[in-house]
């Protein structure tokens, strides 16, 4: 069975008399050097090459060729020789490639005299080298082994020989090349590069090498004088140009990271740190994060995918850490139990020592896990630091300068940030919670005190106020994200309890109508929206969207409901449920600001309503689960910084645009 060696791997040699076959797509010089136990070639008489092709126990070809057979008799070598290096070199004569990177990867095989392969090695990954030590046969405790080496030398034979301690390296290299040059005058044309033969594995290796060539080719460009023009020789056909790897389909001038400025979208300001091409990382260092480093057709989509990628990475990193810590704890428990149940441990200090050892083992593993977690978190924090400033307003926090430069957008963004998520392992690493627009579910701002610890700390009125502020901030975000006239907000505030919180919406004039009060107001707004849902559904089912009455507002609708179920009768509750179920598909969304306990009187009838809404909290609360591992993530709502005018600013621009639009 043949051992296909990888670089550095060795294999025992079963017999002393061997043949070494070399196949390369191009004529190469094959030679061998003998090396003593100090790793030096004692003199030119220890080098077998085309000019001196026979040594005791060693015979090489007399000329450069694409295929060689070297004969080796390990038993006949001089006693002092501990190693045989098999080397390949490219002829320096005109018309031959000057670097192994330009030829197909040479393949060497050690065979017995019967032709059975003992070991094979494909020399992949060569580039500028023009001479290479392919294999070494070496003595190890009176047995001989072969090792795949593949050490190349850009300086050619002279450098290779000098590296083996030969004093006359330069002269010998010249003599070898001279002999080769003379031999070449008699040579026949090289065979075309091998393609279809060989087993699958070998082809794979070759393809790998070719792929590397392709990469290099695209980096160095076509201008490198790697291959001198072949000299026309009348009697021999010209050597075929070796294939330069697979076709590179990427556009030669296309940059890997199209700059944000290239996309004519109004919102994303060019991030400050965006090199046109990611710089190669320092060896051993993770690559520096870049904003927009994800797939997508536009900068916005790339950032969206990147944020979700960070979300998943953080979830999984934390999962790895937690699982390691859990394992460490349970292993320690088991070991402590074992110590406890072992009667011998009760005498003397063995029990204590075992207990300490168990704890130390736990600590060591936890520390290791923590180190990995810290490494990953540092990477994510660095990524977050470049991504946050690059986010367009819809993805950004209120304190992001993008909101100060806010302009009413011309098109709907693909997603909207409705909060931040973090894990207890790293509370300052916030992952934006992005939801796709248009909303697929309604929102429920939980004003209940029993929902979370932070809410328990506040009294009811305070919490209701914060909940309403949060709802207004969400509504402002939605209004700001949509182009003028494509988003309408209705408010039901039956008792007028939230007028202070609603002031930004009311005073800036972005509401379609003032907040509805009283049972009558509730009924009226619900009836209007229900009618809209019915009409649009009918029109869609009939495929007659142009038949809608002209007064119908085709914009997306958001209904903010405060103080539910105050002012609601049974009919209104049914209508509300209808809106929650049927609304999202026709652009009518609910935002409930409610305490579930207030609606207890309705019993389980309302459970489907709550379940259909995305629950958000006005205070930080760990209630959201990620889709991959199911960690509990702490959600934090987005609120404008205290004293900031950003909300007013945005709302007044939206209002102005709405007036200009004619609504």
């Amino acid at each position: 069975m043949t051992a296909e060696l990888v670089r550095g791997q060795n294999h025992p040699l079963p017999q002393a008399r061997l043949e070494i076959r070399v196949s390369a797509g191009q004529p190469v010089v094959a030679g061998a050097t003998l090396v003593d136990e100090h790793g030096t070639v004692r003199g030119t008489e220890w080098v077998a090459h085309p000019g001196a092709h026979q040594l005791p126990g060693l015979e090489v070809s007399r000329q450069a060729a694409a295929d060689h057979r070297l004969a080796v008799d390990l038993g006949a070598l001089p006693e002092a020789a501990h190693r045989v290096n098999v080397l390949l070199a490219l002829p320096t004569a005109v018309g031959f490639p000057a670097r192994f990177g330009a030829v197909a990867a040479p393949f060497v095989a050690v065979t017995g005299l019967d032709g059975d392969e003992v070991a094979t090695f494909t020399l992949t990954g060569l580039d500028a080298e023009s001479a290479v030590v392919a294999l070494e046969l070496y003595r190890r405790q009176d047995a001989w082994k072969v090792r795949a080496v593949g050490q190349g030398y850009a300086g050619g034979l002279a450098e290779l020989l000098a590296d083996q301690g030969l004093a006359q390296a330069g002269e010998l290299a010249a003599a070898i090349q001279d002999a080769v040059g003379r031999g070449l005058a008699r040579s026949v044309a090289p065979p075309p590069p091998r393609t279809a033969d060989g087993d699958r594995a070998r082809q794979t290796a070759r393809q790998g090498a070719a792929a590397q060539d392709g990469v290099r080719g695209s980096l160095t460009g076509a201008g490198t004088p790697a291959q001198p023009a072949p000299v026309p020789q009348p009697e021999t056909p010209q050597p075929q140009t070796p294939p330069d790897g697979p076709i590179d389909y990427s556009h030669p001038r296309r940059r890997k990271q199209p700059a944000a400025a290239a996309t004519p979208s109004p919102q994303p300001p060019a991030p400050p740190t965006q090199p046109s091409r990611p710089e190669p990382p320092e060896p051993g260092q993770p690559p520096r994060p870049v904003a927009g480093d994800a797939s997508g057709w536009s900068m916005e989509e790339r950032l969206y995918n990147q944020v979700w990628g960070m979300f998943e990475d953080l979830a999984r990193t934390a999962a790895a850490y937690r699982s390691a810590v859990d394992f460490a704890e349970s292993r320690m428990e088991q070991e402590l139990d074992k110590v406890l149940s072992d009667p011998r441990s009760r005498i003397g200090g063995t029990g204590d020592a075992a207990r300490q050892a168990a704890r130390a083992k736990r600590d060591a593993l936890v520390e290791q896990a923590r180190a990995v977690l810290d490494r990953d978190l540092a990477q994510l924090v660095a990524e977050s630091e470049v991504v946050e400033p690059a986010l367009p307003p819809a993805f950004a926090r209120w304190d992001n300068p993008a909101w100060h430069a806010y302009k009413v957008p011309m098109e709907i963004p693909m997603a909207l940030r409705i909060g931040d998520l973090h894990l207890p392992e790293r509370p300052d690493l916030h992952i934006p919670l992005l939801v796709r627009l248009p909303l697929e579910r309604g929102l429920w701002i939980d004003a209940g005190r029993t929902g979370s610890e932070a809410a328990m700390m506040m009294d009811t009125d305070q919490l209701r106020r914060v909940a309403m502020d949060t709802a207004v901030a969400h509504a402002a975000r939605l209004l700001g994200a949509y182009p003028a006239g494509e988003f309408t907000v209705h408010v039901i505030d039956p008792a007028g309890a939230a007028s202070a919180a609603l002031a930004p919406l009311v005073k800036s004039g972005v509401l379609a109508s003032p907040p509805a009060v009283g049972a009558q107001g509730v009924t009226e707004v619900l009836a209007r929206l229900t009618e809209r849902v019915d009409l649009v559904q009918m029109a869609i089912r009939a495929g007659a969207s142009d038949a809608l009455p002209p007064h119908l507002d085709t914009a997306e609708q958001l209904l903010i409901v405060n103080d539910f179920p105050h002012g609601f009768d049974d009919r209104a509750v049914t209508q509300l449920r209808y809106l929650a179920d049927e609304g999202p598909s026709v652009g009518v969304h609910l935002m409930m600001v409610a305490d579930r306990e207030d609606a207890n009187a309705y019993g389980p009838v309302l459970d489907p309503l709550w379940r259909s809404l995305l629950r958000l909290t006005p205070v930080p609360d760990a209630h959201l689960a990620d889709p991959w591992v199911g960690h509990a993530w702490t959600y934090e709502p987005l609120l404008a910084p205290p004293g900031s005018q950003v909300l007013w600013n945005v709302l007044s621009q939206v209002a102005a645009a709405r007036r200009a639009f004619g609504r």
Partner: protein, 192 residues
Amino acid sequence: MTVNMTKGQAISLQKSDGGTLTAVRMGLGWQAAPRRGLFGSRTREVDLDASAVLFADKQPVDVVFFRHLVSDDGSVKHTGDNLVGGAGQGGDDEAILVDLQRVPVHIDQIVFTVNSFTGQTFQEVQNAFCRIVDETNGQELARYTLDGGGQYTAQIMAKVSRAGAGWQMTALGNPANGRTFQDLMPSILPHL
């Protein structure tokens, strides 16, 4: 550059330049063997499934298979279920990607198994192989051929285990019987 592995052989997953590997792919490919006799050209579809079981100190911690495609920590990913195998030859029909750097610190062994979900024995499978590929450059590091298929429906292919700071791979090639990895657990444990 490939090592054709034999049963029980272990190789160190080091790069040829001495660096450690960061990501490897465990590829599995197979074809249904053609049946002889009447309608002999008709092949029955064979569904082989590749699974990876992550062990911490001989305790199974996580499993990546066709119903759980990504390990919770994200380090091991299954590229998806293939129900029929390769129509032709060559490529991987199912693959499991392992990001060795991201494998949690307590995981010390990952065992790769192959099960015949449709119940055919490996006699009815031909050209089946499993190979390990350096995912960063596509180079095949080791290949193990499931030849000499016998009357069994599963095989414990290989394990990747921590060795010092790096990883090593051991070809196991142990026949077993079972439809999914759960049935194999008793056969896996002796190899840990």
